[in-house]
């Protein structure tokens, strides 16, 4: 069976697939999946995010991760608007079949030029995301603490990127 799909994209690259696959999922392969969305899905995503998608965000790329041929999780990458340029965010998550939702397994920063570079990449900040679901707020000052004092904007950019990827996946791949 062959499926074909054409989408128009401007997407963030996944720079370290080998390392992330091993460290986040102990997995051995991945499959790239490009997904476009309907107007209805876009409206649903924007409503849940409380913000509009960028004009060039017309589709999304997900990497479906497998371990010995069995599904192990999903990776998504996103270019977020930091205080001093783009922040490349990697989100690894798994679908919880019992609770019919997705849960974050790890969040990583691939590239950034933020002042709070070390704090943004530190476990203290990034580990706060582990276990969160698309239903969580991802609000700096509420359920997420800023990476450092003065880094509220950068932290919020990362949190919003993570939430966006979770919500988009939840809408485009609804739990059965």
């Amino acid at each position: 069976m062959i499926w074909t799909l054409i989408v128009f994209n401007s997407l963030c690259v996944w720079r370290f697939p080998d390392r992330d696959l091993k460290e986040i999922f102990n997995a051995d392969a991945y499959e790239t999946k490009l997904v476009s969305m309907t107007e209805e899905q876009q409206s649903d995503i924007e409503k849940r995010l409380g913000a509009e998608l960028d004009p060039d965000e017309t589709e999304f790329k997900f990497f479906l991760v497998t371990r010995k041929g069995e599904p192990a999780g999903v990776v998504s990458t996103h270019l977020s608007k930091g205080q001093y340029g783009a922040i490349e965010v990697v989100v690894g998550f798994v679908r919880d079949a019992d609770e019919k939702t997705t849960k974050i397994k790890a969040v990583r920063i691939q590239r950034d030029r933020e002042k709070a570079h070390a704090a943004l990449r530190g476990a203290k900040f990034l580990d706060q995301f582990i276990g969160k679901t698309p239903q969580d707020k991802f609000q700096v000052g509420d359920d997420i603490k800023a990476a450092a004092e003065g880094a509220e904007k950068s932290s919020a950019a990362v949190a919003f990127a993570v939430k966006k990827m979770m919500v988009v996946y939840d809408v485009l791949f609804p739990a059965e």
Binding site: M1, I2, W3, T4, L5, I6, V7, F8, N9, S10, L11, F16, P17, D18, R19, L21, K22, A27, D28, A29, Y30, E31, T32, K33, L34, D54, P55, D56, E59, T66, G69, L79, K81, G82, Q83, Y84, G85, A86, R111, D112, R113, E114, K115, A116, H117, A118, R121
Partner: protein, 340 residues
Amino acid sequence: MLTGSFFKRLFFMSYAMGIGLSFARVDNSLQKGMFFRIDKGTNSPFSFNLTGSEIIFQSTLSSNQRDIMKFDAQLFLWGSMEGWSKGMHYGNIYAIFPFGPGRFNLKIGQHVVPFGMQAEYDSHGQLFQQPYALNIGERIDIGVSLFGILGPIDYFYMISNGNEPNMADRDDDKVHTFRLAILSQKPIGDFKFGVSLLRGVLPDFINDPFIDMAAVPDTFIMKTRLGFDWDIQLPLFTLRGEASVGPNGGENPFSDLPDRSVFVGYAEARIPISYDLELMGMYSRFQPSWSGGGAIYEFGPGLNYTLPDVSAITLQFALLRRFYRGMKSDRAALLLVVKL
């Protein structure tokens, strides 16, 4: 259309069956780009230039477990770039066969020669260009590459014709390019260092094809180059560059070094002011001999601006001073890049 679609499906079906897949999916994406420049220089008129416009078509063939093949084709539409300079920016068309994490990837077709910083840094669509035209004599070539990651080390090897894209090969000589790079991510920043080695018969230009688009190679000559490159990302600061040495001609690259070696250097710094605005600066040097005689060098500041809500549109501005074998010239350039 129906026939094309039928044959495409038949091809992928056959390919998928050939590698034992019962399921395969092809995802396609399309990116459009336009590069519009306004130039004014000491020796060049005030002019509007559509230097190029392009379509980049990307496909991924996947099984239900892993990616089998990625295909990229960069199609030049219209623009003022021509001749050999056009072949340094347009003509990428290749297939990548990934063999999975921890294994190598095979790349076949026309693609960027992985020498120095151009192995990973895409200078296409940038006002600042490294001096690869004078140094190596090409950027995109026809050949086969192996690349991958071994622990912290990225490795690249390419064997290619040495002719630029879209050209039939003219001899048995092949260009061999090796590169190893290491990335270290530290709390203070990310540091990537690469070392490259290139040897083969390549085009050699006396006139810079980016200044004179009608320039053709004055000769094809055996070139040997040892290069070092770096990409340092610190908070509020990016520094990237490369330096390379090696002789043109001769069968003894090391003993020929004092007589025939060129020296090439490039450094670029970027300082973000905000999300959408960054300051840039560049120094580029091509020296055809150790003594420094006949050196070509260029330097200047610039600005890079990204539209706040549309990251697909950027504006670059640069003021550049160039010394071309003793002659000084200045130019100002504004570049609008649209990628959708």
